[in-house]
Structure formats: structure tokens, C-alpha cells
């Protein structure tokens, strides 16, 4: 697959997300590429990570052998707590989320629509075990929703589409999309490409996308790059 090597790496995508997180922001990170964001917090800025299972001030993974089965993140992986962290119960944690107190949620996607609809919890296949976790609460409650994802599926199908075919997580919630090919803003005008990965043309990205894209002011339309 060309898309595996073309464009930004997972780390570069995480670093692009991190560059857009303001100093002092409270951020919830999903599983996968979003987890890498912690490594790219801009020097001189401080970001507080929340994990919905009851910790504000999540720190990096512990050193091997120092894991605590009772200190984990939402993906049930061992984490640490920074000085100044605090623990709370699930209702308080989701009060924080639902009440709009978290600034940014960074999460993966199976599909994102041109209107910012998100599908990231179920393929809808008849024998799939339905499991939603906190995804619906996060995207309904957090102020800014950043999706970070490969631009297409492993088989090359577009994940950015005019209309989601998978069951929705929520309607009209995604604000920005970071893929290996481009960064895209979800606006009332439509999907605006704000940045292209090196060596990637607007037309190429459009070709890999199931919805109409609009070139932003910094992006040259057409096939050159």
C-alpha cells in the first residue's frame, strides 16, 4: 500500500496534534495514535491529561516493574500520576467530560463525514459484540474534537466520507482531522484542507477521500505539491 509510506508517520501526526494544543489545556486522549501526543507537548507549555476512568494529571507510562494494576488509563494500560494529579469516581469524571470542562479530546475514527459526524465504535456487523465505552460521552461533552487517523483503511477505502455508513458515535462533533496525508478543518463551508504532507498533492488527497475537499489559503489546489 502506497499510503503506508507516503505522508506523515504516526509520530508526525501526533506531533501536529500536539502543536495545536494550547498551553494549559485539559486533554483527553483515545487509544492508538492519540496516546503518542503526550510525547510531543511543546516545550515550555503544560498540558494536563485526563483519563475518564478517574484521573486528572495522567503522567507517562511507568518504568518496567513499577506498574500498578490499580493505576491505569482508559485503555487499561499502566500509567503514572504527575505531582498535582487527583483521583475521582466515574460520575465525577464524566461530569467533567459531559459538563464541557475538558478542552480537547483526541481520538481515532473509523469514519468521519463532511458534516463532522463520527463513527468510531462499531462496524455494525451482525456478529460484532457492541462495545461503546466512553466514546459517545467524550464526543458529546468535550469542547474540541480532534480526530487523528490514517487517511484510508488498510484496504484503501476512504475514512473521510460524505456520509458515514458505520453506526454513528455522534453527529456533527468533529472539529479537525489529522491524517497521514493532510490536516483538515471541519467548517460550515465543508472540509477545508489546511496542510498537506510533504510530497502529497491536493488532488491526491481528494482522490483518497470520499467527500469533497476545499483547499485552504495555505494549500495549493491541483496536482502539484
Amino acid at each position: 500500500m502506497k499510503t503506508k509510506t507516503l505522508g506523515w508517520s504516526r509520530e508526525e501526526m501526533a506531533s501536529l496534534v500536539a502543536a495545536d494544543i494550547p498551553d494549559g489545556a485539559y486533554v483527553n486522549l483515545g487509544i492508538g495514535i492519540p496516546e503518542l501526543v503526550t510525547q510531543f507537548v511543546r516545550p515550555g507549555s503544560e498540558v494536563i491529561f485526563q483519563t475518564e476512568n478517574g484521573l486528572l494529571g495522567m503522567g507517562p507510562s511507568p518504568c518496567a516493574g513499577l506498574e500498578d494494576a490499580e493505576l491505569v488509563n482508559a485503555g487499561k494500560k499502566a500509567v503514572t500520576a504527575i505531582p498535582g494529579a487527583c483521583y475521582f469516581h466515574h460520575a465525577d469524571s464524566f461530569a467533567m467530560i459531559r459538563g464541557g470542562h475538558i478542552d480537547i479530546c483526541v481520538l481515532g475514527a473509523m469514519q468521519v463525514s463532511a458534516e463532522g459526524d463520527l463513527a468510531n465504535w462499531s462496524t455494525g456487523e451482525p456478529d460484532a459484540i457492541p462495545a461503546v465505552g466512553g466514546a459517545m460521552d467524550l464526543v458529546a461533552g468535550v469542547k474540541n474534537i480532534f480526530v487523528v487517523t490514517e487517511h484510508t483503511t488498510k484496504t484503501g477505502e476512504p475514512k473521510i466520507v460524505s456520509k458515514c455508513t458505520y453506526p454513528l458515535t455522534a453527529k456533527a462533533v468533529v472539529d479537525r482531522i489529522y491524517t497521514n496525508l493532510a490536516t483538515i478543518e471541519v467548517t460550515s463551508r465543508g472540509l477545508v484542507v489546511t496542510q498537506l504532507a510533504p510530497g502529497v498533492s491536493f488532488d491526491y488527497v481528494q482522490d483518497k477521500t470520499g467527500a469533497v475537499l476545499i483547499p485552504g489559503p495555505q494549500v495549493a489546489a491541483g496536482g502539484e505539491s
Binding site: H90, I97, I129
Partner: protein, 236 residues
């Protein structure tokens, strides 16, 4: 004198009857009251409705309770995990029912149940398949779903320490659903690593007031679920 300590795990769960609804604390293995669950397996009550965020892993703890055929219905947000095979198999075979609830809605429904609130509105799930059958209502130009408070006959909980009044403190992210489940159950049964004398927990730091707790049993060295799964242990 108020003294909520009980003598054994068996006596702690003895009165759980067939058909009971049971909230079980924990987020994955963190906070999962594995010894109380095993006592419930020994006790044998069936046709249970279990409210818990997950469905356990391997063949121990909650997964073992399900594998043992004691659970008729799960109410949870995420019945899947790397080592969770028991629930998916029974679910595909039509042998266990599932009510899937978003995690924050599950937490708030439990808190509402404990707080005497029969229903509340949340934006979570609007426009999704989980909104089906739920009342939709608009407040200040936004759509919300009405969700019902959730109560249970029993709660099985793991905490760090308790006093004889049942005041509880927890350890790190093992706190998760425990405090709200303690509130929402008719009878709350708690396994703790230790009992401390009344007054030795600073009144400022009690997480769960004793009023929400009925029975306390000491399990000084609780098993670690992931370790048992790694060893491929199977209960009973």
C-alpha cells in the same frame, strides 16, 4: 455499637437470591472485587442481572461468574477486552442478554439511582442507535436523551480500607464506579485490604460515607486478575 464487619466471604454474599440485580465495581481489573465474585460463584445464585463496566477476562472473577451460567443479563459499556472470550461466546449463542450503555451515561444513571433521581437528560448518544426508544427533548437549542436512574439489589465492591462504620477510602483508579455503586444498591458488600479503627480515617478524606455500606469483609491480599489470567487459572 455499629459494626459492619462480617466473618467470612460466604456469609457476606449468603442472601443473594436468584434473579437479583448486582452492581460490581471495577474498570477492567482495577477495583474488581474478585474474591467476592468467587464467593458468589460458590454460593450459586442464578439468573442474575449484573451491572458492571466490563465483562471480565480469562476464566476468573466476573468472566468466571458469566461462564458459570449465573448471569442472565449484563448492563455495561464495554463487554470486550483482549482476554475476554466468555461473554462474546455466550452472547453470540444467545445465552446472555446485553444492555449497552455509554460509560458516562452508565455512571450517571447509577449516581442518579443512588441520589433519588428517577431520570435526567444527557446529550450523549443523540443521533445514534443507542437513542432508539429513548425520549428526545430540546433544551436551549440542543437535543438531549432522557435516561433513567439505575438501582440494584446488591453491590459487590473492592476498597482499600474501611472502619467499622463502613467509611471507605480507595486506591488510585480502582475507585472508578465503587462510590456511586455503594449509593445505588440496597445492600452494599465491600471487600477491603484492611479495617482501621473508627476515627483513624480523617473525616475530610472519606470517599464513601459509611451510610452507603452494609457489610465489610477483609481480604488482606486480593488476587490480581491479570496475573491469574496469565497463569490461565480457572474458577472454580
Amino acid at each position: 455499637m455499629i459494626d459492619k464487619r462480617v466473618a467470612s466471604l460466604a456469609s457476606a454474599v449468603a442472601d443473594i437470591r436468584d434473579g437479583a440485580s448486582i452492581m460490581i465495581g471495577g474498570f477492567g481489573e482495577a477495583g474488581s472485587p474478585i474474591e467476592l465474585i468467587h464467593a458468589l460463584i460458590d454460593q450459586g445464585a442464578r439468573s442474575l442481572t449484573v451491572i458492571s463496566n466490563n465483562t471480565g477476562s480469562g476464566r476468573v472473577g466476573l468472566a468466571a461468574l458469566i461462564a458459570n451460567g449465573q448471569v442472565a443479563k449484563m448492563i455495561c459499556s464495554y463487554p470486550r477486552s483482549v482476554n475476554s472470550m466468555v461473554f462474546p461466546e455466550l452472547y453470540r449463542a444467545g445465552k446472555i442478554a446485553l444492555e449497552l450503555v455509554p460509560q458516562g451515561t452508565l455512571a450517571e444513571r447509577i449516581r442518579a439511582g443512588g441520589a433519588g433521581i428517577p431520570a435526567f437528560f444527557t446529550a450523549t448518544g443523540v443521533g445514534t442507535v443507542l437513542a432508539e426508544g429513548k425520549e428526545l427533548r430540546r433544551f436551549a437549542e440542543r437535543d438531549y436523551l432522557m435516561e433513567l436512574g439505575l438501582r440494584a439489589d446488591f453491590a459487590l465492591i473492592k476498597a482499600e480500607a474501611a472502619d467499622r462504620y463502613g467509611n471507605l477510602v480507595f486506591n488510585k483508579t480502582a475507585r472508578n464506579f465503587a462510590p456511586i455503586m455503594c449509593m445505588a444498591a440496597q445492600t452494599t458488600i465491600v471487600q477491603v485490604k484492611k479495617i482501621v479503627t473508627a476515627g483513624s480515617i480523617d473525616p475530610e478524606i472519606v470517599v464513601t460515607p459509611g451510610i452507603f455500606v452494609n457489610r465489610v469483609i477483609v481480604v488482606a491480599k486480593p488476587a490480581q486478575e491479570s496475573q491469574l489470567v496469565k497463569e490461565e487459572r480457572c474458577y472454580p
